[in-house]
């Protein structure tokens, strides 16, 4: 599968980035490209001020890649029990003038340094992706929460716990079938 992965954080050090890097390295059958959101401006209906309405160039590029992809994976941190504003802002851009996530199979994964592994944030993200403006096809069940992320990776950036790797592979197998079904249905 051709997959666009989105790092849901604008931080320099992000365990969600590490997780996505591991995923792109581990699932060699798939072509996984990692997208950063750090330089995308905050969503604003009136951006850019005083000019013709258009989306930021980085958003247009990201949307193009998502349209060309079979599926999307989002690595979602948790800030205040919810989705970081930086990620929410990107989804707002992707549901305002253009709707590249519409009908697109999306898998949510998340890492956090706390034991919960971004569970509350993922629940909010599901609600957001399910809203009519976004209209994504969110892969149900299969909640992948990577808690205590500081201890989860070795020096090569690989997940240490083989049980975790096994569960991730199981989620991925399910996601491939799900994405296929979605595409057939379309």
């Amino acid at each position: 599968m051709k997959i666009e992965a989105i790092v849901g954080s604008n931080k320099k050090l992000s365990y969600n980035r590490k997780l996505l890097q591991f995923i792109s390295k581990h699932f060699t059958d798939d072509e996984i490209h990692i997208n950063e959101i750090k330089d995308i401006p905050m969503f604003n209906e009136n951006y850019p001020a005083g000019e013709d309405d258009h989306d930021p160039e980085l958003i247009t590029e990201l949307a193009k890649r998502i349209e060309d992809a079979d599926a999307v994976i989002i690595g979602c941190p948790e800030y205040n029990h919810s989705v970081p504003s930086a990620l929410k802002s990107v989804i707002e851009w992707l549901s305002y003038r253009i709707h590249p996530l519409g009908g697109k199979p999306v898998m949510i994964v998340g890492a956090s340094i706390h034991p919960q592994g971004s569970s509350r944030s993922q629940t909010h993200l599901r609600e957001i992706l399910d809203s009519p403006g976004v209209n994504a096809e969110v892969f149900p069940g299969n909640e992948f929460f990577l808690g205590t992320a500081k201890k989860a990776f070795d020096e090569n950036g690989d997940l240490i716990n083989q049980g975790t790797v096994g569960f991730l592979e199981q989620c991925f197998d399910g996601f491939r079938i799900y994405a296929d079904e979605i595409h057939k249905f379309k």
Binding site: K12, N46, K88, E127, I128, G133
Partner: protein, 380 residues
């Protein structure tokens, strides 16, 4: 009661902004509501240096000084706008601005739902440990069909919505007043000192009652702030129409929190020099609130020279300047104070500090006046 109301969108036009303006007007007898815009804040990023976030500092200070917060949220994709979420992230990252702060949520949408899903998520966010707010339970203000609800002057045209707002605001008013912070702080109305106002204090040069001391301080044509020896803001005189408006919420705060991060190093250098004893006084002339304002920092010491704290002595000297211009002091001897004083007491010379101390004072005074910029003006 003082409230801050946050417009939860960065859009140029917003019915949520109009709702808050309406609430500010409609509830003006019950509360002083100040409207803040999340548009003023930069997008949240942990890697940005905190000391440069003057707007975040300003939000933090205003919310700290308020008894409660009203948040008006639109709904974007079943959640709150990223611009509002970003503001909440600033207020909870290395800060506890929203901790135990009473919060009322309201929202307006074009559709029929009235931001119900966004409000649900916002409640959950506000209850997370890092924000830890006291969210008003129940009392939902969900205003749908916005375009039909407000007239062109921003008034609510539907009486049921007015009633819903009034019921919810009354509940919030009660909720704010039962909040622990509010109870501990007391109302801003401080007419009575805490211990018996009949108590007399005996000074070497006479006695005054507590009440008299309080009222003398409040009647002085200059306002007084006192920062104690531990650098905590411990007192301000309750002079009417102060140039620097202070709040009782600031009492006991480290004085660093009362200054924008950029200005703090200069202020700190003044305190440090007072503690070292290299100088006792720094003065600055600033335009403030359209007045000619003379600001003085005095080191306050005990009879042994031990540092007790710093007194900020601030006043509008426009009247004095006018008197000088009108020539009321023309023909008076130059340096009259020292000479007259000295001759009366039959002393040869008033005592002068040593040379280096005088130089240090001159330097520090220049340094302080250099930063008399608008930054200071806006935030103090």
């Amino acid at each position: 009661m003082k409230l801050v109301a946050i417009v939860g969108t960065n859009a140029d036009f917003s019915y949520n902004r109009i709702l808050l303006q309406y609430m500010k007007w409609h509830f003006r007898m019950a509360a002083d509501i100040e409207i803040l815009e999340v548009k003023q804040l930069p997008p949240f990023n942990e890697d940005l240096p905190d000391s440069e976030q003057t707007e975040v500092w300003r939000f933090n200070t205003k919310i700290n000084n308020a008894d409660g917060v009203i948040i008006a949220t639109p709904e974007y994709d079943h959640s709150i706008p990223a611009a509002l979420k970003s503001g909440l992230e600033w207020l909870s990252f290395n800060r506890d601005t929203m901790k135990e702060k009473p919060v009322m949520i309201v929202g307006v949408s074009y559709g029929t739902q009235g931001t119900s899903r966004a409000q649900q998520q916002l409640r959950q966010m506000l209850l997370s440990p890092d924000l830890n707010s006291d969210v008003l339970p129940g009392n939902e203000v969900l205003i749908g069909n916005a375009a039909k609800v407000f007239d062109k002057n921003g008034f609510v045209t539907d009486i049921n919505i007015v009633h819903n707002l009034e019921t919810s605001f009354t509940a919030f008013n009660k909720f704010v007043k039962s909040n622990m912070r509010y109870l501990e702080r007391g109302d801003d109305n401080m007419t009575e000192p805490h211990i018996s106002s009949d108590a007399k204090i005996q000074f070497r040069t006479g006695s005054l009652s507590i009440k008299e001391i309080q009222q003398i301080f409040n009647t002085l044509p200059f306002e007084i702030d006192f920062i104690d020896a531990n650098d905590e803001f411990s007192y301000f005189s309750d002079k009417p129409n102060r140039e620097h408006v202070r709040h009782t919420a600031e009492i006991g705060e480290p004085v660093q929190q009362c200054h924008p991060p950029k200005v703090w190093p200069i202020v700190k250098s003044i305190f440090d020099s007072f503690k070292l004893g290299t100088q006792d006084h720094v003065e600055r002339c600033l335009p403030l609130n359209g007045h000619k304002v003379w600001i003085n920092y005095f080191a306050v010491r005990d009879e042994n020279g031990k540092y007790l704290g710093t007194m900020e002595f601030t006043g509008n000297v426009g009247h004095l300047v006018t008197l000088v211009k009108e020539g009321k002091f023309d023909g008076f001897p130059e340096g009259a104070d020292a000479t007259t004083g000295a001759s009366k007491h039959d002393d040869a010379e008033p005592e002068q500090p040593a040379g280096p101390a005088m130089n240090a004072q001159a330097d520090a005074t220049t340094g302080a006046s250099e930063h008399s910029d608008e930054d200071e003006d806006k935030t103090e």
